[in-house]
Symmetry: C2
């Protein structure tokens, strides 16, 4: 028999594929412009023009065997140095090249961090709702994911619940800020409380608890919100970053880990993470695109069009009577499912050719996730469907909205 | 404590890093041109000009959000179709896009295959000497690597030993053809015998044994040698391929798995491998370079300069009295260590500023590996050192060579 884990995942995977196939079938039947796909976090904003320019410059100026060849498993020294300098200038940190490990996206980075830190039976804590892949990444290393609920309505961390969840087996506290799927940003005050709690528990249990910050949405924030840089608040912090969203390069699989010198066991973790990058089969982050991001440290996509989408969709949906925290970051709305059953609501929405993801996939049943990294016009075309759905589910405001 | 596995690997990794640091130190002390580094399999031949042209064309012609965006975890359909067509034209196979899974190099592909196939305690058989990373890849999934010796002098498979090694726990037979580190190619007659043996054992134990062919060196062959395409000889064959050597793109991490429809459990393995690609953190093979190889299916590097290196180095070393199988593929010489102790010989060679890798790293103690993917002139400059070493170790022919 092939891998039991994979056989189990295939069952779940077939639901995702079924949705994907449904979308294709509906697009063929009704026309692609009449299907409103909010299911995927694939950036709709184009990468900055500087990306293409950097590719041209690199291919003109640099040796092909350098650009496409092996380098250290941790990545090109000059690229890592450029990233460290940018972080230091932005956040007042003191990193150097050795603290930066180039990774195959944030997904690669998280797996490298887990491979480096976890022994079987260790516990990784995260707040619900959470990016569903965390469960798989933790399972890759036979560790256990411990899910702590956030506060109702705000999706901010429940610190009392967190305090109870930390045990001598807790090796990692995994935080996703801004959060997928809620769009919530944890403010500095909350970060300080988490840091204080982790320090207390480290002392109580005489353990090291690593705070792993998954930050692919760091630059996608609205209303002038600040996202605290966690290495400044807690010593045992590892940051996982990706350029997937900030530069609209999700297919390129490029990101990095920040591994500070002040980590407990830094002398083992820094070289160990490079070994993990190698033996997990990543070997190194893709080379040309490493060199590209090295030259594009000052570039980010404009969040203006995501913000425009956010304002339109949030305003209209709440007007129709839907209930939703206004997101301060990322490009997701996490909407309370009218009727309370997220899967039933996803099915109802599909009858209006609106594709959503059930909150259950994120440990947040009773909600649905809308990814608004889509064309503005698609949102406009989808609004009558949302209005009718509101009416079907008897939401207040539904009538007045029509 | 951080991961025990990583702590153990750090000890070994520090030997590799020490060698790397030694090389840098020697280059600083004696000048880079006076250090003869045969330790790395980093291609010295430049990628074909078509690679750069394809990058330009793609950036001009295709939408940036397609080129840099997410696609199916298995890769772009059109790229997979182009690869299937090329395989079919080259080897008379009948693959289509669904049989091709784009991977983060061959290392990524092997890990995806293992994740899909292996349960803890399963056995993976390979022939020694072998690429040392196999041990780590198998350990990632808590399976056991079973090493079967090859025949002395020829490094061809010992089929009697293989027959004894196969048990009901054998899930995978892993073959690297052409072989790293020996450069040996297994001919069709040997492949037929292995296939026949695997079929017999599948029947005897009522199991499925998957033949996993690791083929990054397929195109790097000399003297008109043919490398059999294994799916034609054995039904349960999965091929892992990489463009690292054939297109000199090792840093780009681009390759693929071939997953035939006629595999046992193909209905689970094909979707399962895409799931494995996702949850291991690869997500997908890097996107731009996927599109590049899709357009470069007819390109390969010229092996002429590797062949020239091979002839020079093989001819000179055997002239000095060293003993070595003449490689028919890849870009390695696996030379019998004079004195019999590979680590001692590596240390002796370093005193002549020649950097080699001990065969022990490949499960082949008593030998050293030379990667001749280097500048021809470097080989010429290194020859006096090899001659002196031969004399120091009292090899026959050493005198006449001087």
């Amino acid at each position: 028999m092939i891998s039991k884990k994979i056989l189990d995942l295939n069952k779940n995977g077939s639901a995702i594929r079924a949705m994907f196939e449904d979308g294709k079938r509906m697009a063929a039947e009704f026309g692609a412009e009449n299907v409103y796909d909010y299911s995927l976090g694939n950036p709709s904003v184009e990468p900055p023009a500087k990306i293409r320019e950097a590719v041209y410059q690199i291919l003109e100026e640099e040796s092909p065997n350098l650009v496409h060849g092996y380098m250290l498993n941790a990545g090109y020294e000059d690229v890592r140095e450029a990233i460290a300098e940018k972080l230091n200038a932005s956040f007042g940190t003191s990193f150097s090249a050795r603290n930066i490990l180039m990774t195959v996206g944030a997904a690669g980075g998280l797996n490298v961090a887990f491979k480096t830190l976890l022994n079987p039976g260790d516990e990784v804590i995260t707040f619900a709702p959470f990016f569903g892949e965390y469960r798989n990444y933790v399972a890759n290393f036979d560790a256990d994911l411990v899910v702590v609920n956030t506060l109702p309505e705000t999706f901010q961390p429940d610190l009392a619940a967190l305090a109870k969840a930390i045990t001598p087996k807790t090796k990692v506290m995994l935080i996703n800020n801004p959060n997928n799927p809620t769009g919530v940003v944890y403010p500095e005050s909350v970060i300080c409380e988490i840091a204080e709690l982790l320090r207390e528990k480290e002392q109580e249990f005489n353990t090291s608890i690593y705070l792993l910050a998954d930050e692919p949405y760091r630059e996608l924030v609205y209303d002038g919100v600040q996202v605290p840089y966690l290495t400044k608040y807690y010593h045992n912090t590892i940051v996982g970053y990706s350029y997937s969203k900030s530069l609209s390069l999700p297919g390129e699989r490029i990101g990095y880990l920040v591994l500070p010198d002040f980590l407990d066991d830094a002398d083992e973790i820094l070289p160990g993470a490079a070994v993990a990058n190698r033996i997990l089969g990543f070997v190194n982050a893709p080379s040309l695109i490493q060199r590209v991001v090295g030259r594009c440290q000052d570039a980010t996509v404009s969040v203006e069009s995501y913000n425009r989408n956010r304002e339109l969709l949030y305003g209209k949906l709440t007007g129709y009577g839907y209930s939703c925290v206004k997101p301060q970051g990322a490009f997701y709305l996490f909407v309370k499912a009218p009727g309370g059953d997220d899967r039933a609501f996803v099915a109802a929405a599909k009858r209006h050719r609106i594709l959503l993801v059930p909150g259950s996939s994120f440990g947040g049943p009773g909600y649905v996730r809308l990814a608004y990294c889509v064309d503005y016009d698609m949102i406009l075309r989808s609004l009558p469907g949302f209005a009718k759905l509101a009416e079907e589910f008897g939401l207040e405001g539904a009538k007045s909205a029509e």
